[in-house]
């Protein structure tokens, strides 16, 4: 093997230009792949962070109740017992948060807007306090100052509201203004509630379009829900990767405790109203979901990015593979007599095959390692630079106003491994031809 390596390395160094070209090309495409994977992973990370800050736990126990078949109220009775059961079933949970969910109209002096008012117990929302960043006045008000006004902790007081900057802009309101909230409460009646805006948070992409935070009691009052009710128990885990397993455990445990469960549908709760209203049952059913279900309408972004990456990197890799094949054809042709000599001296076909494959894969390893490390470096730098996303639409999709890239050493190693292997595959046809040459033909080959 040492001999093969020596011969391979020296031959690669001998064909300097060819080697340099292919190493550069391989490095380039590996760098691109690592960057795109880092972007995809960063996007997923951002989504988990935003989703779990704003509208979901890692795992959620929510559901619907119906007095008559056409109803679909996103509210659970006996929420305290459910919360205790969840706590029993998921002892590793870092926190459990109970929230209210609703659908209502926000009305300012000039404009109105439909949102999903989310009722929170401010004291129990440590995560939300951390995740929400208050916007500068200039972010939502024309001629506003470059300072943050408002106070998130006032959400602990009744008749208050926290909006997102985009909503404030559309409603043309600022901190201290009053809003009227109107909500249909069934049987054609509508309730209203007046609240004061106590803080305005920076936008969080898509999710911040339709979520507004109110004190939990206000939402209950608006809908005249009883005391022991709530819309959802949000479960936070030490590691989001365990979400699916915990969901399964909860479904089993809650069913065993006598709760009716809805079939799992990977969609956010607000897309389930219609289906539930069309089902022929009354009473209450629980719906257990994971965070990715609640942002499944955004998953296409990651899927699309991954698809583009695969196609783009795939096309580039095919081109490079053809280049490698071609280059190895040249190498085999140039070294026909050398192969003949080696065969005559006693090298087997398999060893000749190995000789050329080792050479190609060495080239592959050099190029992809270079590109993989450079890609990881560039991704880390870009992430560190916290580059502002200038384009609004992109900011919506990214759910963040800075570019987030996450480099996994596993992904880099995977890229290097797969591309090096591909280099070997690309070199296979010329290498097989070299191995099949008869020693006589090879020896008497001119040149």
């Amino acid at each position: 093997m040492g001999l093969f390596l020596t011969v391979a390395v020296r031959n690669l160094l001998q064909a300097k230009r060819r080697t340099a070209l292919l190493v550069t090309a391989l490095a380039g495409v590996t760098l691109l792949l690592v960057l795109l994977m880092a972007l995809s992973a960063g996007l997923t990370e951002t989504m988990i962070r935003s989703a779990t800050a704003i509208s979901s736990g890692h795992v959620n126990v929510a559901g619907f109740s119906k007095n008559k078949p056409a109803d679909a109220w996103p509210v659970l009775h006996g929420i305290e017992a459910i919360r205790r059961k969840v706590a029993d079933l998921v002892p590793e949970a870092t926190s459990l948060v109970v929230r209210e969910r609703a659908w209502a109209k926000l009305i300012s002096d000039r404009h109105s807007l439909f949102v999903s008012p989310t009722g929170v117990d401010y004291a129990s929302e440590a995560r939300l306090k951390e995740a929400l960043v208050l916007a500068k006045e200039s972010d939502y008000k024309k001629g506003g100052r470059d300072v943050v006004v408002g106070d998130l902790s006032k959400l602990a007081e009744p008749h208050t509201a926290v909006l997102f900057a985009g909503q404030a802009k559309r409603l043309d309101v600022e901190v201290g203004d009053d809003l009227t909230i109107t909500a249909p409460t069934g049987a054609g009646r509508t309730n209203t509630l007046d609240v004061r805006i106590v803080a305005i948070a920076r936008d969080f992409g898509f999710l911040s379009n339709w979520v507004t935070f109110l004190p939990r009691q206000d939402v209950k009052d608006l809908y005249q829900y009883g005391d022991d009710t709530g819309a959802v128990v949000q479960v936070y885990l030490p590691d989001p990767a365990g979400s699916e397993e915990v969901m399964g455990r909860l479904r089993e445990g809650l069913a065993a405790a006598g709760h009716e469960l809805m079939d799992h549908e990977p969609a956010p709760f607000f897309m389930k109203f219609e289906r539930v209203a069309g089902e022929d049952w009354t009473g209450q059913k629980l719906d257990v979901t994971v965070w990715s279900d609640e942002v499944s309408f955004l998953k296409w972004v990651v899927t699309a990015l991954d698809a583009i990456s695969v196609v783009l990197v795939g096309i580039l890799m095919v081109i490079i593979a053809l280049g490698i094949t071609d280059s190895m054809w040249i190498a085999v042709r140039e070294r026909t007599r050398e192969v003949g000599t080696e065969r005559a001296i006693g090298m087997t076909r398999r060893q000749v095959l190995a000789l050329f494959l080792v050479e190609a894969m060495l080239l592959g390893l050099a190029g992809t390692t270079l590109g993989g490390l450079a890609g990881a470096g560039v991704a880390a730098l870009l992430d560190h630079a916290r580059i502002e996303v200038a384009w609004d639409a992109l900011r919506m999709i990214l759910m963040s106003d800075v570019l987030n890239l996450a480099v996994g050493p596993g992904q880099v190693a995977w890229s290097i491994g797969v591309f090096t292997l591909l280099t070997g595959v690309a070199a296979l046809p010329p290498a097989v031809r070299a191995a099949r040459m008869q020693p006589v033909t090879a020896m008497h080959h001119a040149g």
Binding site: L3, T6, E338, T341, G346, M347, R349, M443
Partner: protein, 240 residues
């Protein structure tokens, strides 16, 4: 008699396709080469010298007849079997030297030993040094082929052919690409090695001055043996 003969050819015919025709490069050759011989295959251009050496060297198989090398019939072996036979029993010296350009003199000589995987690193290095000393190149251990003269390259090739201590060393016109003086040096070297180490040599040439040094000359014309002063010649055939 059989134990002593390293190579035996019996009624060997070799035909090459040439369009729709066939060229008969060897036409019923009987030959026997014994240990320690120093044999020259001589004949005009196109007479079949290279073809004959290819048969003996197991790099090609006959169309008809038998070639026995170290007691094995080469056309009955598969490619791998012939390859191993070459590695273990034969040494090759080429007209165009055919060193591996990216390897140094020492590495070129070490090459067959590495393929054999029999000697450890230290024994290998010792053997390489010994062989290069034998051909008078101990000073050029780390030179690449393109830094050496033709004569030096052919010496490295001889060292490479001898390093596995093969039963037979084959050389197809080893002096054709060398000037006369260098060529004679190479022949002298081969002769010395033959005398002092009992290495069996068989080589082809059409240089009359080279032929003078031979102990045994096999003359070949149009693919047939026209004269042979050793075994396998007329005398032996009469015996059989």
């Amino acid at each position: 008699m059989e134990t002593e003969s390293m190579v035996r050819l019996k009624g060997v015919v070799k035909e090459y396709p040439l369009g729709k025709l066939k060229v008969r490069a060897l036409d019923g050759v009987d030959l026997c080469i014994r240990k320690g011989e120093f044999t020259v295959v001589a004949g005009p251009s196109g007479s079949g010298k290279t073809t004959l050496l290819n048969m003996v060297g197991c790099v090609d198989v006959p169309t008809a007849g038998e070639v026995l090398v170290a007691g094995k019939e080469t056309s009955k072996l598969d490619d791998r079997g012939r390859t191993l036979l070459r590695l273990e029993r034969l040494g090759f010296i080429f007209q165009t030297f055919n060193l591996i350009p990216v390897l140094t003199a020492a590495q070129n000589v070490e090459f067959p030993l590495l393929l054999q995987r029999r000697l450890g690193r230290r024994r290998r290095r010792e053997r390489v040094r010994e062989m290069l000393a034998l051909v008078g190149l101990e000073a050029l251990l780390d030179q690449r082929p393109n830094e050496m003269s033709g004569g030096q390259r052919q010496r490295v090739a001889i060292a490479r052919a001898l390093v596995t201590l093969p039963g037979i060393v084959l050389a197809d016109e080893p002096t054709a690409n060398l000037d006369t003086a260098t060529g004679m040096n190479i022949i002298d070297l081969m002769k010395t090695l033959n005398r002092e180490r009992q290495t069996t040599f068989i080589f082809s040439t059409h240089d009359p001055r080279v032929m003078e040094h031979a102990r045994r000359i096999v003359r070949i014309v149009d693919g047939r043996i026209a004269g042979d002063d050793g075994c396998g010649g007329a005398a032996e055939r009469a015996e059989a």
